[in-house]
Structures are given as structure tokens and as C-alpha cells.
């Protein structure tokens, strides 16, 4: 693996995890008595940027290295289901993340003033954020399991 590919792989992991952390921070602060809406906006925006950047770096790694060099090794090995189930799921579900996060950012940006008054809206936004965090965590865990399928 070249240094460029290592950089893209590390960036993909780092950015994806950062996105999860920003959204977890969002989730932990949305129902605070004195919720700081500036931070809700910043966290959702940074999460959006992180997921888009993770999308691009992961996409580059996948198309230029994984498909040619990693996938055949996994498919030949004992854990071929790791690619056929986990990677196939990951690469499709992964597409949702930036759009769901964009929706979260848009709601936070345009309707944040209603959060304190409308508990139902705040609860729905928290539900959306929890869904994104859960999907992102599942994708991260899938990535770890996929990495583990490549042995000597």
C-alpha cells in the first residue's frame, strides 16, 4: 500500500469517527436546560463536513485499492461473508450519512429557535441524530470487522 493510500485510509477513519463524536456532542447537548444553539449549529456543520470528507477519502481508497487488492483476498479466505454482507451493506448505507446529516444541519440552522418551545420537534431532531450516530457506529464497526478479515 502506498503512502497516499495509507493517508486516505487514515483520513477516512479519522473523519468518520470525528463525525460520530460531533453528533454525539450534539445529542448530549440538545436537551440541556441552557442549550447553546451556536454549538448545535457548529457540531452539525462539522459532522456534515466530516462525513462528506470521509465519503471522498473512503471512496478513493475503495475504488483505487480495496476492489483490486483487498476484496479478492477476503473473498478467497475463510471470512468471505465479511465482504459479501458487511462491505456490501456498508458501501450502500454509507451513502445516506451525508444527506441525513445535511437534513439535521438544515433543521438546526433554520428552526433552532423552535427547539426550546416545541419539545416534539426537539425530540424528533434528537431521534434523527441518534439514527445517524447508530448508522455511523454500525458502519465503523463493519469497517473494523472488514479490516480483520485480511490476514497473512
Amino acid at each position: 500500500m502506498t503512502n497516499t493510500l495509507i493517508f486516505f485510509l487514515v483520513a477516512h477513519i479519522f473523519l468518520g469517527t470525528s463525525g460520530i463524536i460531533f453528533l454525539t456532542a450534539y445529542l448530549l447537548s440538545i436537551f440541556k436546560k441552557e442549550a447553546d444553539f451556536k454549538w448545535l449549529k457548529i457540531n452539525s456543520f462539522l459532522a456534515l463536513l466530516s462525513f462528506i470528507a470521509s465519503w471522498i477519502t473512503g471512496g478513493y481508497y475503495y475504488t483505487s485499492y480495496y476492489g483490486k487488492s483487498v476484496k479478492p483476498v477476503i473473498l478467497k479466505g475463510e471470512f468471505s461473508w465479511v465482504h459479501s454482507i458487511l462491505m456490501e451493506t456498508k458501501e450502500h448505507v454509507f451513502l445516506f450519512l451525508p444527506f441525513l446529516t445535511l437534513a439535521l444541519f438544515a433543521v438546526t440552522y433554520f428552526a433552532y429557535s423552535d427547539f426550546a418551545k416545541d419539545k416534539k420537534l426537539a425530540l424528533s431532531v434528537a431521534g434523527l441524530c441518534f439514527t445517524i450516530v447508530s448508522i455511523a457506529l454500525a458502519i465503523m464497526l463493519s469497517g473494523i470487522v472488514i479490516s480483520g478479515a485480511v490476514g497473512k
Binding site: 500500500m1 495509507i6 485510509l9 487514515v10 477513519i13 479519522f14 469517527t17 463524536i21 454525539t24 445529542l27 448530549l28 436537551f31 475463510e78 471470512f79 434528537a126 441518534f130 457506529l137 464497526l141 473494523i144 470487522v145 479490516s147 480483520g148 478479515a149 485480511v150 490476514g151 497473512k152
Partner: protein, 166 residues
Amino acid sequence: MDWNVFLRELHVLGTVLGVGGSTFAEIFAIKFSKDGKIDIFEHEVLRICIGVLRLGLIILTFSGLGLLVLWRMRLLGPDVFYSPRFLAKMTILLILLLVALLMNFRLVNLKLGSTISTASWYAAMILGIWRGLDLSYFVIMFGFGVFVVLVYFLLEYARKTYLKSK
């Protein structure tokens, strides 16, 4: 210093902050429960402990992922990634995150939540240190469950003993 040493040191730092933060949060929570209410100063102390704990979790996560990248480069594969000890550590980390969210939304009793959180930090540390552990995933997780119960009763005992002494 190579990447492996650097990431391992960060991983240890994250664990130290997490275990230390959760331990002191428990100690202060017991101490502050004496009069049955939390004043502004006590709230600030607990907030700092939780902040340290969260910083530890972030350092632990990033350094752990860095170590996984190194393992991936060395093609260590299923022997390491699918080992019961590693899978148990990942599960406990997820439990830690889930409990933090549940506690934040008051969906779990605070005493129980903080017990699971403290037990999880110690269990993750013990699993990290105990390299020769040769047990199945389910046995380790069963042991974790027993450990949580033990920590719960230990903290209850400490709480009652402290309140009686005052």
C-alpha cells in the same frame, strides 16, 4: 519514537483519564450526596470529572483506531481482530457510549448508569492489560456482567458507610 509506541502511549493516557475521571466522579458523587442536593460548586466539580472522562474516551477511541490501522498494515487479521478479548473490549466501549447517552436522556437510573460506566472503564483497562486471557467472548461478557453487579454493591456499601459516618 515510532507510531506503535506513540499510539500505545496515547491509548494508556486515554485509559488513565477515563478510569481516573470515572473513579473521581464516583468518589465526589458519594461525598456530595451527604446533604441530598448538589450545589453550584459540587456541580462544577462533577462536570470537570465527566469532561476528563469524555476526553479520555476520545483519546482512547482515536489511538485505538490508529492501532487498528497498524494491525491492518501488518496483516495481523482474524487472530487479533476476531479475538474474544478484542471483541469484548469493543462491546464494552459500545456499552460505555450507550450508557452515557441513556444517562443524558434520563432513560436509565443515574446510580445504575454510573455503576455500569465505572465498571466498563475498569473492565476495559483490565482487558487491555490481561494479554494472556484465553476465554471465549461469552465467558468474558458473563464475567463483565458479574463485575458490574459487584461494582454496584461495592459503591452502595461505600455510599452507606460514608453517610453513616457523618
